[in-house]
Amino acid sequence: MTASVADRPVVAERARFGAWAIPGPLYAVVLASTCIVVGLIWDVSWHRTVGRDTFWTLAHVLEQLAAVIAGLTCGYLVLKSTFAGTPDERATSVRFWHFFYGPLGAWVCIWGTLMMITSAPLDNWWHNAYGLDVKIISPPHMVLAWGMIAIQIGAMLMALSAQNRAPAEDQRLYSMMHAYAAAILVTMVATVIQEDASVGNHMHGSKFYQITAWVIPLFLIGLSRASRLRWPATTITAIYSAITLAMSWILQLFPATPKLAPIYNAVTHMVPPAFPLLIIVPAVAVDLLMRKFGPGRDWKLAAVIGVTWVTVMVAVHWFWADFLLSPAARNFFIGADQWSYTDRLGDWRYRFWTLDVDATGKWNPLAFAKGIVIAMLLGVVSSRISLALGSAMAKVKR
């Protein structure tokens, strides 16, 4: 096999350090990805607990540092490949504007960094124009979110290209790195949708299943298709669960009080993220289905995944929601019933929200069923798009 930029450092470093050696730039972008997701979850917790908004909170600094690490590392890779690249480095690069060379993942990371930097003045103007937004989904935040997502995708593409070029004995290492980067991406996406799909209160409404059927398979299915692990979706969702739980438990250890008024809920510790969605359960089903169907039958596979995903999600989360709303879940490990300092506490905490109701306001099973059918359709479309993207990612070698 032709030696390449991914192989040579590994071969050389393996001679010194053994089999578990990874090219430096890949380490750096994965580190940047980790900083982004930790910073994001921390930032949301900060806004829900302390409320203080200055650009230079530690969580913001961590996120910007991630952009700097990713941007500088990938910028270096591109400049080196272009102006001082070896034939192997250029051979494993894609061309940009006929002049520049660099790994595909590096270009995506650079784009993501620029998006993150662009979002800062836009977000600052937005706050001055319309007030500090106390919600996640606003136009400038979406610019930032896509920048962060791009850095995650860039990291994954770099891991995938290394996986797809590596000798068999090193593939598992790169596959695990890809799974880790993919899990960070899934964690980010779950954080973005948390206002409508995170706590037990959401889980008896079809809207929860529609959102999760569209958003999560859109990323998870393709990322699994590109991996060479035996249980890729399961591995990715297991890492997502571990990241979310770790952040929940670590954040709760830190005392904190609100610094902005009005305070309606006197929190005393950092408010944690919600317990991770139990997407590991439908992920197991996804792995089994993908193995059973194999490649070449993607329309059928997408249809089966879409229906199965929603069915398993409902089966699991419907009853899990009952537990989350019960007193048994109100402890450090599950972290239920923890609210922002701006929330006026009341009985609404223990009720289900956004239920599918009829004209009289009562829960209507037919309306719920209709909503679930829509969720399944969304799941099918999302899975089909994701499978196509995943098939392309599985072939990335540069």
């Binding site: 998006m115 009080t257 008024a261 540069r398």
Partner: protein
């Protein structure tokens, strides 16, 4: 001649009697413990936003009171839980007796700004009622708009180029050169990407306009 005289008279009346009515700021003049205080709360134009508080303290003889520890805090009338720690209003170097600080006002409507003073003459406290509503709309600075447009265009072109490069070369074995078919597929992908991103930008623009309309409908 009589018409001219009437026009001149009306114009003069308008010029002399014109006044600005309805400043969004809140003013207080009165005691803060042993100090005589004039407090101005310059409310933010948007909510949540940052209010600037100016506190001018004098003693009973009208001498500016220096060396006083002045703190400020804002709260809504219906805040049920504790208050956050107060902010420091720092002395203004060029104006003895004047103190200034900033406060985040997170919720619109009836708020109260509490001024605390602790100094050589003693301690004092005053609560100033402040009504905070959105009262102005900020236009996008043309230079910022131009810069964001330029960067946005660069990102748009960059994204389309990345998609083209991905389809054209990323799956090729190292060292291979794309053939005509790969290049054609890349151009098609770039065209599709252009359409999708253009649609997304259109959607984003409509979203921005909707947010702006909602905001304008809430301006006092």
């Amino acid at each position: 001649m009589r018409l001219l005289g009437a026009v001149v008279s009306v114009t003069a009346i308008v010029a002399v009697t014109s006044a600005h009515i309805g400043s969004p700021d809140a003013w207080y003049e009165g005691a803060v413990g042993p100090y005589h205080a004039i407090v101005q709360v310059a409310t933010p134009g948007v909510v949540p936003g940052v209010a600037t508080v100016y506190v001018r303290l004098r003693d009973a003889k009208g001498v500016p009171a220096t060396g006083v520890d002045v703190t400020i805090q804002a709260n809504r009338y219906d805040a049920l839980a504790t208050s956050p720690p107060p902010e420091i209003a720092a002395p203004v170097a060029t104006e003895p007796g004047l103190y200034s600080g900033q406060l985040w006002v997170m919720a619109g409507g009836s708020n109260g700004v509490t001024v605390n003073a602790h100094g050589g003459l003693g301690d004092g406290r005053a609560v100033i009622p402040v009504v905070v509503v959105a009262n102005r709309r900020l236009d996008l600075d043309p230079r910022l708009g131009a810069a964001l447009t330029a960067v946005g265009l660069f990102l748009f072109i960059g994204l389309v180029t990345i998609v083209g490069a991905a389809v054209r070369e990323s799956s090729l074995p190292p060292g291979s050169v794309p053939d005509a078919r790969q290049r054609w597929k890349a151009r098609t992908a770039m065209a599709v990407c252009t359409a999708i991103v253009a649609l997304a930008l259109f959607g984003g623009s409509r979203w921005w306009n909707a947010e702006d309309r909602n905001f304008r409908s809430s301006i006092y």
